[in-house]
Every structure is written in C-alpha cells, then in structure tokens.
Symmetry: C2
Subunit: 325 residues, 2 copies
C-alpha cells in the first residue's frame, strides 16, 4: 500500500548508499529476467523487471542498517531472492484468479496461459533459492524457505476458509501473517543477518508491517474506489475470501452474518454488501487495528538500533499506512 513516492523519500532519506544498492537490485533482477531464454524473459521479464514498489527488497536493505562493504553481495542476493519469491507468488496467484492484468500489464497467465504461467512461477521460486544458494549462507536459505512455506500454507488456509462468513478473527489474522507477514519477516531477518543487527527483533517488525499491509489491503478491497485500487470493489468477497471488514461488520449487522457469498451474482450485489459493511463502521475499525499494529511495531524496535536506521524503518512503516491517512 506504500506509494512509490514515499518509498523514494525513504531511499533519499537513507542516503546514497541505499540508492545505489537498490539500483544494483534492479540490475540483477533485470539480468535474471533475461538470462533464462526467450520464454522466461518474455513472461517473467515483464513481471520482475517492470516493477512494483520493491518494498520487500527495500526492507532487506533497511534492516541491514549501515552494513560493512563486504556484506553488500549477500545483501543483494537476499533482496533479489525476496522479490523473486514475491513475483513467483503473484504469477501463481494470477493463474488461480484467472487475472487478466496486474499493474496495468497483461498477466503471464493472460499472455501465455496457465501452463507457462505455472512454470514461470516455479522457475522464479527456484531462482530465488539459487540466488541464496550461491552465497552459501544456510541461515539465509532457512529464512527464505520458512517464508515460502508460509506463503503456500497461507494460500491453502485461505482456500480452506473460502465462503466461510463465520471464520474466526484469530484464524484470519494467522492467515494474513502466513500469506503476507512471513515474507516481510524474512526480508527483515535477511537484512539483519547480513548487516549483523538484531535479527529476531527486526524480523518481528517485518512480520507486523506485513500484517498491517495485508489488513489495509483487505480494507481497500471493500472501500475502493476502483479507480484507486485498480480492481472492482468486493473482489475478495466475490472469490469467497472473508476478510477483516466483514469479520468486524458481521458482529454488528446480523444480515451480514447470514450472507451467502456464493449467491453473489453481480458487481452491483457485491457493491451493496460493501456498502453495508461500510455502514457498520467496520472499515474505520479495521484501519485502526492496522494502525495500532504499525505503531506497536515501531515502538518495539530495539533501542540499540542506530537512530538513522530506526528513522528509515519508521518511515517505511508510515509508508505502508500512508494511503489511508
């Protein structure tokens, strides 16, 4: 949810070294996109080189603080690996959602079909581990494999919970930590491992930011507007994915608690459910929960961190919630 402008501000605030590392991350991603034959460069090239906000690589670098020069290669590998896992999961998600576009571009699924898209995702997963394996740091591979396992478990859990309007809040939150928190956690842990900082504390910060990111994304799905999110309001609901706004709203509106999401047939019906959720005040409460998570994560940052590093980490945390200000 962080805007590119905020993240650019973070990069500027953190100084020229970070900017130059981010450029090296981009260059490495571009090289990977073109280094595996015309098919991968055609499909994945657009996915990994064209963009996104690079929030996860940025977290890797920021969690490293002011790392020694000899840590730069390890850091780059970690930043690239985390972004590749993220790209792989997007490519697979688009297959599952039969999504026609992402970030305004045709998805790999739409351009090349599900076989090529599934294989492209698998290849991106594999390349992520290959990046870390080349560095030979077992702790790094461990952190990444934990995150990629969590991502898949989160997907499985979401599938299991589909259409269940009564899904418990705790289970929803656990799913968000698996689906989104775990990779943010790995990003911060990887940075801390390379930079020599407090790995567990920074990992916990990452997990919290990732959770907040997901909560706010789920609010946006209901609040819209479509012009801002790039997708129709209530897309999650239409897919049977019950998220925080409905979980909060169902306690206040018995009719929402009795909704049969499978019966939603049209965009208009789905919009009506979104309006009904909003009318309970659930969106503001869901946002408030995300903001609390972020505030707690900021205040839990260890006091041993250099002030400059703490300041940039706080800036990124603010960036995550900024669109909701």
């Amino acid at each position: 949810m962080a805007t590119a402008a905020t993240l650019d501000a973070v990069v500027r605030a953190a100084g020229p070294q970070l900017g130059s590392l981010m450029e090296r991350v981009e260059a490495r991603l571009a090289a990977l996109a073109t280094g595996y034959g015309p098919l991968l460069s055609h499909h994945a090239g657009e996915t990994i080189a064209a963009g996104g906000k690079r929030l996860r690589p940025l977290l890797v670098l920021l969690a490293a603080g002011d790392p020694p020069e000899e840590a730069a290669d390890r850091l780059l590998r970690s930043a690239v690996a985390v972004e590749l896992i993220h790209s792989a999961s997007l490519v697979h998600d688009d297959v599952l959602d039969r999504a026609p576009t992402r970030r305004g571009q045709p998805t790999v699924f739409a351009a090349a079909g599900r076989t090529a898209a599934t294989a492209t995702g698998d290849l991106l997963f594999s390349r992520a581990f290959a990046e870390l394996a080349a560095g030979g740091e077992a702790d790094d591979v461990r952190a990444l494999s934990a995150a990629s396992s969590a991502l898949a478990q989160g997907e499985l859990m979401q599938r299991e919970d589909a259409w269940d309007v009564a899904v418990p809040l705790a289970r929803y939150l656990q799913r968000c930590e698996l689906k989104t928190g775990a990779l943010f956690e790995a990003a911060c842990r990887l940075g801390a491992l390379a930079g020599g900082g407090p790995a567990d504390a920074l990992a916990a910060f990452g997990r919290a930011i990732g959770l907040a990111f997901q909560l706010l994304d789920d609010v946006l799905d209901v609040s819209g507007p479509a012009s801002r999110t790039g997708k129709a309001r209530g897309t999650d609901l239409l897919d049977g994915t019950v998220t925080l706004p409905l979980i909060v709203a169902r306690e206040r509106d018995p009719q929402l608690a009795a909704t049969d999401l499978r019966a939603l047939r049209s965009g208009a019906e789905t919009e009506a459910i979104c309006d009904r959720i909003a009318a309970t005040g659930a969106l503001a409460d869901a946002k408030a929960r995300a903001l609390t998570v972020v505030a707690d994560a900021k205040s839990a940052l260890p006091s041993s961190l250099p002030p400059a590093q703490r300041a940039t980490l706080e800036l990124v945390a603010d960036g995550v919630v900024e669109r909701y200000a």
Copy 2:
C-alpha cells in the same frame, strides 16, 4: 519405468544399511506429510506418503556409496528433498493436465481443486529447500535449486514447443534433460556430495539415466498398452507434446510429418497415429537410443568406484530399462 520389484532387488543387493536408510526416508516423508496442518496432510499426504517407486531417493543413497555414519543425516535430507521436488512437480503437472488420477488415486487437483493443488505444490517445493537448509550445506542447496530451475525451464520449453511436429531432435533431447535428467543428476550429485564420491561423474550418470527414463516413458505413451501405462495411448500427442517416436517416424512417413495434432479429436484418431508411428519402426529405434544412453552411462562410471557401488548403480540403470526388455 523401473519396476518396484527391481528396485527392491537393488535395495536387497545393496545390503541392510540401504534398506534402513530407505525406511528412514519413508518415515521422514510421512512426518512431513502430517506436519503441516490437516489440509496439507490431506492433500500432500496421499501424494508423498502413498508413494511411487522412490527412484530418486534411491539414487541419492546409491550415489553416496558406503557413506560414513555422520553423513547419514545429510543423506536423508537430500533424499527427502529430491522426492519432495519430484512430488511438487507431479502435483503441478496434474493441475496443468487436469488429471483425475495418478497411481490409481485421485490427484490433489481432482480432490481439492486447482488452488489447493497449486499451493500444495508450492509448499512441497518450499519444504524441499527447507529440508536442505536445515542441514546448512550450500553445495546441496545449489544442486537442488539448479534442478528445480531446470524442471521449470523444461516445462516452459515444452509449452513453447507444443503442437510443433517439426521440433528439432536436439531441442527435444534438451527438454528431456531439463524436465527429467536434471533431477536425476541432482539426486546423484547430492549423494556423491554427502558420501565424498566423484560428484561430477555421478551427476553425469544420473543425468543420462534420467534422459533414458524420459525417452522410454515417451515410447510407452505411443506403444501402450493402456493396461500397462495406466493412460490412453497417445496422451502426449493429444496434448500437443511431440516426442521421440514421432520425431523419428516423421522422417520415414511424410504423412506423419504433415500431421496437425490440433485436429486430433478422438481416442480412435490418436490411436491411429500411434499405429502409424509404430509401423515406421520408430519405437524400436527410440528404445535403442535409450538403451545406448544407459549403456554409455554405465560404462562411463569411474573405475575408482568401489565394485559394490558400481554394481548397484548398474542394477538401477538396468531397472530403468527393464520394462522394455
């Protein structure tokens, strides 16, 4: 293609230590199948615990020779990781092929749908790397990530070549090495790394056996009978996958060279193409190529290998071709 009976014979020939290691591999796979929540144990439990021939784990152990006791854990991790990558690729293949059954059981795709099956495959991939990461051997992670990258590249290549009756032989062979040879290669390399044997030579042996395995599998697709293969004759052709029998036969029968596979509408039409391929003698030639690959691989085994290890590796190689004797 090796039968379970041959592989049992290999295990017996190799002695009690191998049998006990294979039992530990099974136990670890079973533990993984049940250790990630009810959904994974439900889906992947059947895929990874129910079985298959365990040819790849067996190759890991045999390539290790007579390893020191302290190498047992590393060896087990490698054997399990290789089988998990194989299982992951089967689960994803079944999604892509919309396959209802595998080994007589419903596929994850058929039982749980494509979302759960795609996530299950991703989770198996991730767990494979987690197994190796726990051991902390960077060379092992490197070998596995090279293989899993190759698998995905092979899938992409197969997709690109779909329906192309004129696909060059060299390209087909490269595809087989990527799709199948690379994981056999990794199995042997991982075993050699743990056991201290000649890794490159054993890796080359594995790659060749994997290539032969794929060539013979492709022959079986055309030769059938379905009662032996568990699938209709010509399934690959119907999917647009051009393999060695047709590549050989098209040089001898111009009508085959002009076949439009997209026009195949029925099982009877596909069987007629299979018969036409067989009538050129292409099946015998394709088998002969596979047998030559295996024979060359056996004779290229380094003379430095202990005779007992060489003998069991040769037995496995024979097992791969046995069904065609």
